[in-house]
Amino acid sequence: MRAAVRKVVGYLGAIAVMLVVWEVAALVLASPALPGPASGVGQLVAQASVIWPQFIVSAWRVVASIVVGLVVGGPIGLLLGRARRADALFGPLVFLNYPIPKVVFFPILLVLLGIGDVSIIALISLIVFFQILVTARDASKSIPSSSVLSVRSLGADSWQVFRHVVVPASMPEVFTALRISAGTAVAVLFFAESVAGSTGLGYYVFDAWGRIAYGEMFAGILAMAVLGVLLYEAIEFAERRVCRWAQAQR
């Protein structure tokens, strides 16, 4: 409870600082592209009925992508970290592909899957998939052998070792990767929506920019920021529940 209060206070403080910096920046730049905080927030409220559906569309895309990337990348990464032979086979494949910027495949995805949710989700999932995969693999690789030994001495088969040791032990690292992925995911979402499609916050912002409707554009940017923060907080919340034990460790 006290932690929650501290968190709210922290957020309020941070918001206050940002408002001040924003106000100063707006005064200094004196550009219609950067309205002051009062009019910026005003714009968001005024545009709420238009932005809200776009917000939902974007939120759905990014959440679906993260879930797909996590559900596919997590288990594969954990398995690769534990199975030496599979790792020797697939590891090089992963590391060859990991550094390639996946956004360059977007045009191909658009051709293959068409313009719309599917290709956007495919692109973001692909990126999240690799980030989670690589982290999960390293995490499961570095699990102390004593944890595994003691569970094996209790008669655990490979699946039980995986379930009771590998998965939970790797969770803190996977969550860290997830948080980083969430930031990347929102950025890629913006890119994908502004390039292809006629819905979502990215499209909304870009469309407003094209119409020189800076007020609307700014409202869209704020909505995108809110989406990012909500995502981050949701992951934090889940992490605290799942990795409660990690806080008890020194």
Partner: protein, 266 residues
């Protein structure tokens, strides 16, 4: 209670750089219900021997039989306690203690009952919802013991289980180990680096040679477990005898070895 026989067991590790011969033709027999302490120079293969006895490591040659049956894998009623206790920090005290029964798919209700009994036995009943990270070292050790008790282990293998504890907690747990062994009569094997601990908890003390490990000597210690044993003359004599044996194996620092030799002569 099962007896354990190690017959002519050798273990070679295939390391990154070179192959390491950790155990060489080890022969050892633990009578049913016996309490053995195993002591020897660092790196001589004590942990390796214990893993082989737990069925977690197949000897390169030779074999291990428990209760007359050759070991081919982990055995249902063998409990292994490692130096870091082998607890899972993401599970509660209760779930950690119950883990062996869960893994062996025992009926849930009976498992819970047995686990609670075991936790009460080691004095952790109040802490069932805590995480291991919230426990002291001594409590973690008790938890590892509770897991073995919940399994109703008849063979308890321990690898330096008390070495991470401070002196007071350590004596406290030595007494607990002794008490459990006297009450339950399980076959017990304790690896330790402490001469006093070996004499206090081993009715037979096995001394190993430096790597590749072989059995150098077996010291009988029939008075182990008698009241106030730590303060007796016999206890000190046994310790001196062991110290001399270990010095002969080069397990002690030269100064300590000289002192042991002098003490042995006196």
């Amino acid at each position: 209670m099962p007896d354990v026989v190690v017959e002519d067991a050798s273990v070679t590790y295939h390391g990154v750089e070179a192959d390491v011969l950790a155990l060489e033709h080890v022969g050892l027999s633990l009578p049913a219900g016996e309490a053995i302490a195993l002591i020897g120079p660092s790196g001589c293969g004590k942990s390796t021997l214990l893993l082989a006895m737990a069925g977690l490591l197949a000897p390169s040659s030779g074999r291990v039989t428990v209760g007359g049956e050759q070991l081919l894998g982990p055995r249902l009623r063998t409990a292994l306690i490692l130096q870091d206790f082998g607890l899972l920090p993401w599970k509660t005290v209760l779930a950690n203690a119950e883990l062996g029964l869960v893994i062996r798919k025992q009926p849930a209700k009976e498992s819970r009952h047995r686990t609670m009994e075991a936790l009460e036995r080691v004095g952790l009943a109040e802490f069932i919802h805590a995480c291991p990270g919230e426990l002291s070292g001594g409590m973690r050790q008790r938890l590892a013991l509770a897991r073995a008790l919940a399994l109703d282990a008849d063979l308890l293998l321990m690898d330096e289980p008390l070495s991470a504890l401070d002196a007071l907690t350590r004596e406290d747990l030595q007494d607990l180990l002794l008490e459990l062994w006297r009450d339950r009569g399980h076959t017990s094997m304790l690896v330790t680096h402490s001469i006093e601990e070996a004499v206090y908890l081993g009715r037979k003390v096995v001394v190993m040679t430096p790597r590749p490990g072989r059995v150098a000597a077996v010291v009988d210690n029939p008075l182990m477990g008698s009241a106030g044993y730590r303060q007796t003359e016999v206890f000190y004599e046994r310790c001196a005898e062991l110290r001399a044996l270990l010095a002969a194996e080069g397990a002690l620092h030269p100064d300590a070895a000289a002192a042991a030799a002098a003490g042995g002569a006196a």
